[in-house]
């Protein structure tokens, strides 16, 4: 699957299918610190991502104002 990451913006490819929880674990990301977005909506943690999925993982913590 194709994963768009932010700060800085970049894409990576990950072999799927895989659950959201497992993907975040593999990327060493906390579920509380990011949102997983697909087709303009949120993907919950228990969802399963197909191999051809295109998703964005967006950090939610900001230090600015």
């Amino acid at each position: 699957m194709r994963v768009l990451l932010r700060q800085p913006t970049r894409t990576i490819d990950v072999d799927g299918p895989m659950s959201v929880v497992k993907l975040l674990h593999r990327l060493d990301l906390s579920r509380e610190a990011v949102l997983v977005i697909q087709d303009g909506t949120l993907v919950p943690g228990d969802a399963y991502l197909q191999d051809d999925a295109e998703i964005e993982i967006r950090p939610v913590i900001s230090g600015g104002a």
């Binding site: 906390s30 610190a33 993907v43 919950p44 228990d46 230090g63 104002a65």
Partner: protein, 340 residues
């Protein structure tokens, strides 16, 4: 994962409330949290005119949208800080939001540009004044937010500080026992001494919830971090609190609301509290206190309340204007380890 309200498919889990929501009921939950806090702290009444400080980030755009959704009369205020591409992109997001979400519901945008109006920008002011960028930035924003709210005759200045921001500022103030700042860390500061009323209606909602709100409402916002924020204390405090929150969901909310309930009055403002508010040179404190500098007289240059002859913003402008612009790269903090 099922929505707590309608049992439809859930899109987000909120561990501290032990609740999952579908898109529709999550958006309703956010509106309810804002309504609740506005009533709880008597922040605003229907019919009052509110000025929302918008940065282009998720919190302030979500806040403006929420207030319009709830039927408040709310305009936006954007201050162009001159922080390179970051500011260019932020301004673009704010204008796109205004056209699409605010203007159709009667909200208009006030823009102030530091370079155009005062011949300064944040990187140059930081370099020339040998101060941390966030300190020059916070000082400028506080001044311009206050001025716009007063000049525009608004009933309150509204900022998008969320639960994570307030818990992190509280944590920092407690760690260093900044008692004067603690006494003024409230989500509603009444108007006084020539300063406008200041309110923070997002304090019941977390950072993650505000980002989710924007995604589900289709609001584009500035996702990139301000280049000046890298590795700052505010982010370090957030990381520490998030570690505790992982083990004990609800800890941040208990910490902050427990403080408001049990402790803030013990640090109630007196003369000492007027000295500095929470302007500790870090973000998260912008425009959020009626601190400034004592409110004993008026600035000879601009007429703002100050206890010096010239207020600190006018002093900053006098020192910085006329100086060649300093590029962002020259004042950026060294990147430390990432705080996520």
């Amino acid at each position: 994962m099922k929505c707590k309200v309608c049992s439809g498919p859930g899109v987000i889990d909120i561990r501290r409330h032990n609740a999952n929501f579908c898109s529709e009921h999550f958006l309703r939950y956010c509106r309810q949290q804002v309504e609740k806090v506005i009533h709880e702290f008597r922040m605003a009444s229907p019919g009052e005119r509110l000025l929302v400080a918008v940065s282009g980030g998720k919190d302030s755009l979500a806040l403006w949208d929420l207030l319009l959704e709830l039927g408040y009369e709310a305009d936006g205020l954007y201050v162009g800080l001159g922080i390179g591409d970051y500011s260019v992109e932020s301004a673009r997001q704010v204008k796109a939001f205004t056209d699409r979400f605010a203007a159709p519901r009667g909200g208009s945008l006030i823009e102030v540009d530091l370079r155009e109006t005062y011949d300064i920008d944040v990187p140059t002011a930081a370099k020339v004044g040998k101060r941390v960028p966030c300190s020059a930035c916070g000082l400028s924003k506080r001044h311009l937010f206050d001025k716009a709210a007063i000049d525009g005759g608004y009933d309150a200045l509204v900022t998008g500080h969320n639960l994570d921001d307030e818990a992190a500022v509280l944590y920092g103030n407690v760690m260093r026992w900044q008692t004067a700042y603690l006494g003024r860390q409230r989500p509603h500061l009444p108007a006084e001494n020539g300063f406008p009323r200041k309110i923070k209606p997002l304090v019941r909602l977390s950072e993650r919830e505000m980002a989710a709100y924007c995604v589900l409402r289709g609001i584009d916002y500035q996702i990139d971090e301000c280049p000046m924020a890298v590795g700052n204390k505010h982010l370090q405090y957030k990381a520490a609190l998030n570690m505790a929150e992982e083990d004990t969901p609800g800890m941040k909310q208990a910490f902050y609301f427990g403080f408001l309930r049990e402790a803030v009055d013990r640090f109630a403002p007196d003369a000492a509290a007027r000295e500095g508010g929470q302007s500790n040179g870090e973000p998260g404190s912008d425009g959020s206190t009626n601190d400034a500098e004592g409110s004993l007289g008026l600035c000879q240059r601009c007429g703002s309340p100050t206890n010096n002859e010239v207020c600190s913003f006018c002093t900053l402008v006098e020192r910085t204007s006329g100086h060649d612009p300093v590029p962002v790269e020259l004042v950026r903090r060294p990147a430390k380890r990432r705080q996520r």
